[in-house]
Amino acid sequence: MEIIIEEISHGHKLLSRQKFASNTITIGRGYDNDIIVSDPHVCPEHLQLQFNGEHWLVNDQGSINGSFLEGSKENVIQHKVSSGDIISIGKSQVRFVFPSHPVAESIAISPFESLINLARHPVVLALSMTLFAFIGGWIINLNNANEVSLTQMLVPTIGLTLGFALWPAGIALVSHLTKHDARFWTQMGISFIFFNLMWLSDIFENIVHFNTSSNFSMLWLLTIIPLLLAFGLFWLNCYVGFHMTLRRRNVVASCLILLLFGGSFIIQMSKQPDFNPRPQFDTTIMSPAFIFAPSSNVETFVNDASKLFDKATESAKEDSKE
């Protein structure tokens, strides 16, 4: 009966696969074996498989380090092979599969996949990176009170773009190292599209902050946007770079979010002084072009301001209780 023997890594990643039609198969480091394993912990004659007409039987050939069925500590002697058995020899592993072994259902190529591949299209990629560099340069210019010439702006802008490119490059490297397809350009394309979206959401957030008064209580909704965007980015990074189940992908993306935002939140909290003598308020000021909200009159403002006194008195009372 035919048998398929796979050499696999410790993480059960396939290294090689062979199909045999003979009734005796030998595995070992010696060149006379049917399967030659170059692991120095494997003996020249290590393992033998034999078909007795009904079953495949596997035998350790008296090797130094032994052969063990996965999950057991007993040396393999006259073991009856069932499809999918994994046996450790030295520091390597082999897996035996019969031709009748069931396989997972085929996955259709989703239109989503082609959408993702659009991100790596040279034109799209160039466009999103240029847009990123452009916005980056603009922000650098805004933050510099002095006049900035184009050449002065060029170096920090390129630096910024390269710095942000490290993220997709890093992911591609990790997926390459874990024996996945690196898909570097796809990662780049996706990441830069999301970086741009984050910048747009930043501008949107500023406009909302600028237009709303402190009476507007839904402002916390705005903090969800960058969270969602970051989740989307990490999720797609995982989708492109690694084969993992949907559940696992969600968990990994959520954990990254927690690490990134939770971490920065904790750092911020730890920097908060015990008592801040300076007033804290929303300082967003933009050009008149971004005003969409109507202005209040003085009476309304004074009325709103009067409510602060009660709040301050309350907090004075609370503090004196402590």
Binding site: I285, S287, S295, V302, A305, L308, F309, A312
Partner: protein, 417 residues
């Protein structure tokens, strides 16, 4: 030549005469003059010193509030002690304070009636020779002759301008005329022979009030005084003439009273500046000392006009935004004295004027003085692409009503020309 010599001789003789007279005054009054010390209970050492003088036969001693402020704020931490001219020490009890005029009355125990300083009934005349007594730098009692120069013009609560060197340890010491009557109390110096005194009538009022009805609690007395003073100050300011002055293309209010002084600065001399900026600020030239790290009673207004035709509107406002981050309170106060600020912000356009502002108002409450607050307002105009006007004020130690009335008037006074 002879005449010059005679003139020199005359100067010398008046000088030596003044010194002789000072010595005489010192000898006469020395037993009623004290060094007042604040003793830290935990370490047993003095933490601050000042001067004081007896104003009644039964042992009432006048000094500055700021000399004994540590005790007034933390009675459990300190004791007050006097040291007389013979080196005797004993404890004093705090009887009454006037935190606005920086005065305090403490009492020593006296076995029998003692000599004391008499408080003058009349203010001195301009140019009159006065003698300031006190204990600067812990060196022992000294007499400093000087001249009465009238009341300080720029001050809301009266202060005498005294030409003579008042040093820090002389705080609380009396200033007497030739008849040895107290006409003022040493309170502050701005160096170079310029000293400031609390006029005698403030002490007289405090003394009489104490005799009629001594305060039940120093803290409540202080709270009432602070409340009354802010009421008086803000009412005076609200009823004064608010003059509109031009700053760039804006109109800003300044208050035409001598105790609010204004200053201005601009960068119009720098032709290559990206932004043309002009700043005007007005402030009250005094504040109220409550403790070394807690001041109140201050008022300041600031206006900043910026214009630029060299940079884009977005960058212009981005630079302006950074100025908002620099807002700081106008007075010093710590965690034990005040709460953190509570703020409100909104876009505001006064109905009466043509300016659209992003406005922020913040307030914090005093922990020991109920219904007193520090307030802060800042607004930036956001209705023109290339120029904007910032208007800002802070007031320390005000009540809700008065500060809101001021806020409304201030907001309605700032406009475009």
């Amino acid at each position: 030549m002879k005449s010059i010599f005679a003139l020199l001789l005359m100067c010398f003789s008046t000088l030596s005469f003044a010194v002789e007279q000072a010595e005489e005054i010192f000898k006469q009054l020395a037993p009623s003059l004290y060094q007042i010390r604040l003793i830290d209970k935990a370490s047993g050492e003095k933490s601050s010193i000042g001067s004081g003088f007896q104003i009644s036969s039964d042992g009432l001693i006048a000094t500055n509030y700021h000399v004994i402020s540590g005790f007034a704020r933390h009675p459990h931490k300190y004791t007050i002690e006097y040291l007389d001219n013979k080196g005797n020490k004993a404890e004093l009890t705090l009887k009454s304070v006037d935190v606005i005029n920086d005065l305090a009355i403490v009492q020593r125990e006296v076995p029998n009636e003692m000599a004391f300083f008499e408080i003058a009934q009349q203010p001195p005349t301009k140019g009159e020779e006065l003698y300031s007594l006190g204990n600067p730098h812990d060196l022992g009692m000294i007499v400093v002759p000087g001249t009465y120069n009238g009341l300080k013009n720029e001050s809301f609560n009266d202060r005498i301008h005294f030409t003579g060197s008042v040093n820090s340890g002389m705080s609380g010491g009396p200033v007497v005329n030739k008849a040895t009557q107290v006409v003022g109390i040493n309170v502050a110096t701005s160096g170079n022979q310029i000293g400031f005194l609390v006029p005698h009538d403030k002490l007289l009022a405090l003394y009489q009030q104490y005799q009629e009805s001594p305060p039940t609690s120093i803290e409540q007395q202080m709270a009432a005084q602070l409340m009354q003073n802010q009421e008086k100050l803000i009412t005076t300011i609200m009823n004064s003439d608010w003059q509109l002055k031009q700053l760039g293309r804006g109109l800003i209010p300044t208050i035409d009273v001598p105790f609010v002084r204004c200053w201005g600065e601009s960068n119009s001399d720098k032709a290559d500046a990206q932004i043309m900026a002009a700043v005007a600020n007005c402030d009250l030239d005094e504040n109220t000392y409550i403790s070394a790290d807690f001041f109140t009673g201050s008022l300041e207004m600031e206006y900043r006009y910026m214009e630029s035709d060299k940079i884009g509107s977005t960058k212009f406002y981005h630079i302006f935004e950074r100025q908002l981050n620099q807002v700081a309170p106008g007075n010093l106060a710590g965690k034990d004295d005040v709460t953190e600020y509570q703020c409100h912000h909104d876009l505001v356009m006064p109905q009466t004027s043509n300016i659209n502002n992003k406005a922020v108002f913040c307030t914090r409450a005093y922990k020991d003085f109920p219904e007193l607050y520090d307030v802060l307002y800042i607004a930036i105009s956001i209705d023109h692409e290339q120029y904007a006007l910032l208007s800002h004020f802070t007031i320390a130690g005000v009540a809700q009503e008065t500060s809101l009335a001021f806020l409304a008037k201030f907001m309605e006074s700032v406009s475009w020309k």
